[in-house]
């Protein structure tokens, strides 16, 4: 059962790599257009140091921006969920702003914050902030009515109500928001590097393609994917640590 769950995806991956390699070889596709898997592997191996160095830059941008989004998003969600007035003022705005393509703001943020770390963090923060605040606010307001009544029947203080009922009940929503946010955070970091940067995997990808070093571009792409998986797994790990009570998610077959 467990073996099959690993064996099948690996087989699928190998099949795709085989088709890729065969296509490169049979159609004699130039390396500049599409390098063979072997060439990409060589690039990954030879430039590992460079990839790790640039990856570290992007990882830092991603994590700092994500942490910042949590830091600002969670308290704001609490405020919006608990105040009728704030909710009516800002919740529709937040939902509407969610549809703004926030990466389009990257060039403007660059003008405001310069080409350094600040502008990268701002872009990452912007894309990660919305899922966190929207999901958390929704979760805080979806506290089961009976639990609220139970607390009220015991004359629970507002603080007890929040810390013992509302927040734990909203935690699954917060985690869902964080999972969306962390994937978006990686995208935000890469976009920010595309717009202006002299370091990071996004910058490496851009400079590699401009120098027609396509194998390195693919290697950077793979490094980015691995990093994306890594940070997502991190959020899942945190989920298991702080909310081990969540009923096991049924795996789709």
């Amino acid at each position: 059962m467990n073996l099959a769950r690993i064996a099948y995806p690996v087989a699928g991956l190998l099949l795709i790599l085989a088709i890729w390699a065969a296509a490169c070889w049979l159609a004699a596709i130039p390396t500049v257009v599409l390098p063979s898997p072997a060439r990409v592997a060589v690039a990954l191996h030879d430039r590992a140091g460079l990839l790790a160095e640039e990856g570290w830059v992007t990882l830092r941008e991603t994590l700092y921006g994500f942490a910042l989004a949590l830091l600002v998003g969670l308290p704001l969600a609490v405020a919006v969920a608990n105040s009728r007035r704030l909710n009516m003022m800002f919740y529709p705005l937040l939902v509407a702003l969610q549809s703004v393509p926030k990466v389009a703001l990257a060039p403007i943020l660059l003008i405001w914050l310069g080409t350094g770390l600040a502008s990268k963090l701002a872009v990452v923060w912007l894309v990660a902030f919305f899922p966190i605040i929207i999901d958390t606010a929704a979760g805080l307001r979806a506290t089961p009515r009976e639990l609220v009544e139970l607390g009220r029947s015991l004359n629970a203080s507002p603080w007890q109500m929040f810390i013992k009922v509302q927040f734990p009940a909203a935690l699954p929503f917060v985690i869902t928001g964080a999972k969306v946010a962390i994937t978006l955070a990686v995208i935000g970091a890469v976009i920010a590097e595309f717009v202006s940067s002299s370091e990071g995997l996004g910058y490496l990808l851009l400079s590699a393609t401009s120098q027609l070093d396509t194998p390195l571009a693919f290697a950077a792409l793979i490094a980015l994917s691995v990093m994306g998986l890594l940070v997502y797994a991190m959020v899942e790990l945190v989920e298991r640590l702080i909310a081990p009570w969540l009923p096991p998610v049924p795996t789709r077959s």
Binding site: E146, E149, G151, R152, S153, L154, N155, A169, W245, P247
Partner: protein, 236 residues
Amino acid sequence: MVALEDASFEFEAGEFVALLGPSGCGKTTLLRIIAGLIAKTSGSVTIAGQEITRPDGKYGFVFQAASLMPWRSVIDNVLFPMEILHRNDAAARRRAEHLLDLVDLAAFQRARPHQLSGGMQQRVALCRALIHQPPLLLMDEPFGALDELTRFGMNDLLLRVREETGASVLFVTHSISEAVYLANKVLVFSRRPARVALEIAVDLPARRTQQIRFTDAFKRLEHQASEALGVLGPVA
């Protein structure tokens, strides 16, 4: 919209009163008014001479759904009221263990709610409602979602637990036989706007067993309640 018109009734400490009526007749609303959870437009609720306008924490509430907290173990769910009341000490824990033992869940103290069946969850909810030793237990169709066999078992269990704790009970239900089986007094409510259509004193032996359901006295009481509910149709 008027949910309740004339819901006047009195009951004595130690009584088990069933509020019986059709679905949506306002029984649940009445129970929440008594609990101080929702405001009433007129009338008054007094418990032991005290007017109830807001929750006073002197009752236990059991909801239709067990409404346990999935992030707490069974025993921590039971202890939740004691945490809120700042009385979560060793004595509270002993009492929680005792209550869980009383409802045959001693082995499940550390389990998570999602690992329990519906009936077991509702038994945990009963322990949670009794942990702070309230003189009054308010129950809102607590066994409505259970199958009949489980419900019979829960009825006996509730009577046993009540005997041990001595709490008065206000029990909302739409099951005629459940009302007659459990209560000393059955208040039959009419359709919306609800009023008390009939008050039935249940003169069955204090110690109930499932055998009692098949006695003439039991059937006569069920018949009386059915008639007051209007389920028998016009008399031919």
